[in-house]
């Protein structure tokens, strides 16, 4: 489906970073966009600046009832959603699994993994009935290879998102609905600040990603093209290819012993 053929995109985590970059790029093609985010202030700032393009919706992706309401409100304004972009998420806070508070693990899974399922539950049946549309979700290169310490629950959540999109793609294919999973590497966004505010009791380092050379706006065209071409995997940071290959080599060695 060409981007300009989409009528209404619903983007979670839309007030910042990747979500906002994707929303801006979609709007550039004339798509109406609902930005859903838990950060009310950030939403208000975007609304004040670019209110003519977007509707905003305060939504915590963990809140299933909230999803139903947000959808109803969004569709009153802009009509049926035909592009769902599950992008909201928090980052790892550096805890190792053996030290992590169970609540912290639960929170990561609830936001980064079940939050995606909640979006799928809210929209997939309607898209299937409509026989057109697209569902994309943001995972990470950590959904492909999570080979460093301190990723804790982030790897499981992001691997889970990849698996969800791989299966969903098969399930939706016969009905003309496309499915993609976006797996970025580190990019200049507010992820650390957002994690500190909404996602961690351990406060990750004061460091910020914002000085990184790769900006989300630069990646938006590749993301949109991935949707347009209905590609399952959308990669933007191919320097992680080696880690992915190494992981598969490890699995292959396991099969030699089977």
């Amino acid at each position: 489906m060409r981007i300009s053929e989409f009528r209404h995109a619903f983007v979670t985590g839309g007030a910042s970073g990747f979500g906002l970059a994707i929303a801006n790029a979609m709007a550039g093609h004339g798509v109406r966009v609902t930005l859903a985010d838990v950060d009310e202030e950030a939403l208000a700032a975007v609304q004040a600046e670019r209110g003519e393009l977007f509707r905003t919706s305060v939504l915590d992706v963990r809140d299933r009832e909230g999803w139903r309401e947000a959808r109803a409100r969004a569709e009153v304004d802009f009509g049926p959603v035909d592009l769902l972009f599950n992008n909201a998420g928090i980052g790892p806070d550096g805890s190792e699994l053996a030290d992590m508070s169970p609540e912290s693990f639960d929170r990561m899974i609830a936001i980064n993994l079940t939050g995606v399922l909640n979006g799928v539950s809210t929209f997939a049946a309607s898209l299937r009935d409509a026989g057109r549309g697209h569902i994309a979700s943001t995972s990470s290169m950590s959904g492909m290879a999570a080979d460093n310490a301190g990723l804790g629950s982030y790897g499981p959540a992001k691997f889970g998102v990849v698996a969800m999109m791989e299966v969903l793609r098969r399930e939706m294919e016969p009905f003309g609905v496309g499915v993609s999973v976006f797996c970025p590497g580190t990019t200049a966004t507010n992820l650390i600040a957002s994690t500190r505010r909404f996602g961690s009791d351990r406060f990750p380092e004061e460091a910020s990603l914002l000085d990184l050379p790769v900006k989300p706006e630069q990646l938006a065209p590749a993301i949109l093209r991935g949707i347009e071409e209905n590609r399952l995997y959308i990669f933007t940071h191919t320097e992680r290819r080696a880690a992915v290959e190494e992981r598969f080599a490890g699995i292959m060695a396991g099969f030699d012993a089977a």
């Binding site: 992590m100 790897g155 992915v244």
Partner: protein, 261 residues
């Protein structure tokens, strides 16, 4: 880990299927075994036919407080646990995502993924401090490849377990604690019936389990060897590889597509 030095294994879902196969294989090597299971009837049945090298403890792996109690009870009897096998799990629900009751997704995630990390929360720090131990997590072939309609929630949880195990292995390696992930292909067990017993939502799936000539006892032997060698992946069915290879090639091609863009 040298199994002749191992004293005590704690195995969840140990009263049936793969867990029991693993318990028997370790017991044969002289390890005392605590089998932890939600199903008391199966626990009794198994204990009636095993010697005093076996103990049973009732545990729902979702219940974090219960983990502490089960651990205390087990260690009072057999001493510190040096092998943890996080194996309890339920089957796919047979539902496509668009039709899935979110609670059914939650249940599969709670048992098949969070139930496993709960074991790590209970035992991981102790093993690290002692600088000795091994953790096996049961994932599945569905934790390596995904794409079967109706197996979505299960694949999500199992991909999570695979990743969890890979990350944990990196974190535990400097402390002398081994970590393996077990990714079996199809094995005849009571998975379907046991899933129904604990209130799992299950459609079409049990009947569809294909025949397999790998038995739970075979898997037990493979796991014992995997622990001995600190294998990262314990794989039971060679015929799973073509699917993994296909997925790997699709991912590489998608990386190259971007690189050439």
């Amino acid at each position: 880990m040298d199994l002749s030095q191992a004293k005590h294994a704690f195995i969840t879902g140990g009263a049936s299927g793969l867990g029991l196969g693993i318990a028997d294989a370790l017991a044969r090597r002289g390890v005392a075994v605590t089998i932890a299971d939600i199903n008391e009837d199966s626990l009794k049945e198994v204990l009636a036919t095993r010697g005093n090298q076996f103990r049973g403890v009732r545990l729902d792996t979702r219940d974090r407080e219960n983990w502490q109690k089960a651990k205390a009870e087990a260690e009072a009897a057999f001493g510190p646990v040096d092998i943890l096998v996080n194996n309890a799990g339920i089957s796919p629900n047979g539902r496509e995502f668009a039709d899935m009751d979110p609670e059914s997704f939650d249940r599969i995630l709670a048992i098949n993924l969070v139930g496993i990390v709960n074991g790590i929360f209970a035992f991981g720090a102790d093993m690290r401090e002692r600088g000795n131990g091994h953790i096996v997590n049961t994932s599945s072939q569905a934790g390596l490849t995904a794409g079967i309609p109706g197996v979505g929630a299960y694949s999500v949880a199992k991909f999570g377990v695979t990743s969890l195990s890979e990350g944990l292995r990196v974190e535990m390696e400097p402390h002398g604690v081994g970590v393996s992930v077990l990714c079996p292909g199809y094995v005849q067990t009571n998975l379907g019936a046991n899933t129904v017993k604990i209130g799992g939502d299950i459609r079409q799936y049990t009947a569809a389990m294909p025949e397999s000539d790998v038995t739970p006892a075979d898997v037990g032997e493979m796991v014992a060897e995997g622990i001995e060698q600190n294998a990262a992946y314990i794989l039971t069915h060679k015929d799973v590889w073509p699917g993994v290879e296909k997925r790997m090639n699709a991912i590489k091609a998608a990386c190259d597509y971007r690189r050439n863009a």
